[in-house]
Symmetry: D2
Subunit: 144 residues, 4 copies
């Protein structure tokens, strides 16, 4: 595994802290490795659908952010990334009591585009995990 | 245009009101027609990314909900729908001062699956609109 | 509608003729307008699935090519395009007796990326058309 | 690994042989395991794009078929599957001298829908492999 440049990790952590949506949903940036990022969040009261499961928008948000920061982890220090496109398959509902775990990874780095994927899992209070979504998409490097 | 069954419109409005995430983001259900639903929201302070634009997760959430309710509008009264999968292309950033407008529509109704699309637009304070995202995906009817 | 630059149309027609797969499937380049391209093909004997309908790969091929040439139609004369990613929803089977019609269009032109969509229709011998697929994706300009 | 039911493998091999497009592109069904299918093909003269690389439609066709047969491998003996939707990210061009290898797998089996993924690789004459595409999508069980 490529060791993580601490300056890049710091940049990613600062960017995460600057995303107000990450704060609103109660997300935490757990792991930052080169090409691999893990973000978790509870299913807060304000982010559910009509049957009290996690809203699909919450699951997408986590998967998108984990994938985006995975892409950023393989970029030069002076670059940002933006989501070009992202596709989500929902695999199971995530109950309100669960903890969401999004694992983003880089499928193919690139100077012009970065191809990424994420898995989103839901862990119940007994530590049992079920995959709730798979995402695949494209990030683009941008000069901030 | 197929006239809207008022009972189905009521079901959709009740479902929308029961989604806590719609309340959190400040969304309003504007239009409910058979196969066409419009949802709007501001870009509230808590739903932005690191450069103060609307978070991609917010844009997806609106597009997903508009598409889902468009699918629900062509379903029998006793059915619900869930998102199977959805793909978003981001077309432009949405500034914090803009109003987001998500227009969901049914591309193909069906008993087993409903194919849907959404456009998300951002309207500035002068009423000028720019498309910020295009979504295409699949909803599945479920017995609640 | 933007009038078509004849040099760009010539470039597109030459590129189409150079794609051996277009010849193999019996495709014809019908319409080349700025941001809109139509390609048709029969469902030749060698391009079917196990129930004698058009293979999904044939439908994708037509939708991809129509979208790609639509993107090329809005590019400068010295550029090519390549498919970054493309998503297809299959809406109906296309019987072997049908004529496939793929309509590609540009959703958003750009210097770095072009967002595109295609519809693929199947016309029966009575001239009745059914949409068989919707595609949405991304093309990238490249220097040949 | 779940041992493969020989009747299901026979069903898959018969279906593959009945797809005229598999014959046209020179594809071979290499591996049939429960939830995992491998299909290979050369880049025949008639399936290239304008720069003599494999046409994107060929790469999609292989990825789609590998994913579809992976889904079929986890279905009851009397069922067929059809592609609902499939998304492809192209990662690298596949030169005409390469051998394409599509590995389809089941991400989540289901009675109503099966979520699938494929990787398509290109192996050069020295045995060196490069991934050329990643696909993710949905198959639906149907009664034939």
């Amino acid at each position: 595994m490529t060791p993580m440049n601490p300056e890049i990790e710091n940049k990613i952590r600062a960017s995460f802290d600057a995303q107000s949506m990450m704060t609103s949903i109660g997300a935490e940036l757990k792991t930052v490795q080169s090409g691999n990022v893990v973000i978790t969040s509870p299913v807060l009261e304000g982010f559910r659908q009509q049957q009290d499961f996690a809203h699909g928008g919450l699951i997408f948000t986590l998967g998108d952010s984990a994938a985006g920061y995975a892409a950023l982890s393989v970029m030069p220090l002076d670059m940002e990334v933006m989501t070009v496109e992202l596709k989500i398959n929902i695999m199971a509902p995530a109950p309100a009591s669960g903890m969401l775990i999004a694992q983003g990874k880089v499928l193919k780095p690139g100077r012009r585009l970065v191809i990424v994927a994420s898995e989103v899992w839901c862990e119940d209070t007994d530590g049992h995990r079920v995959q709730v979504a798979a995402l695949q998409g494209t990030m683009i490097p941008v000069n901030p």
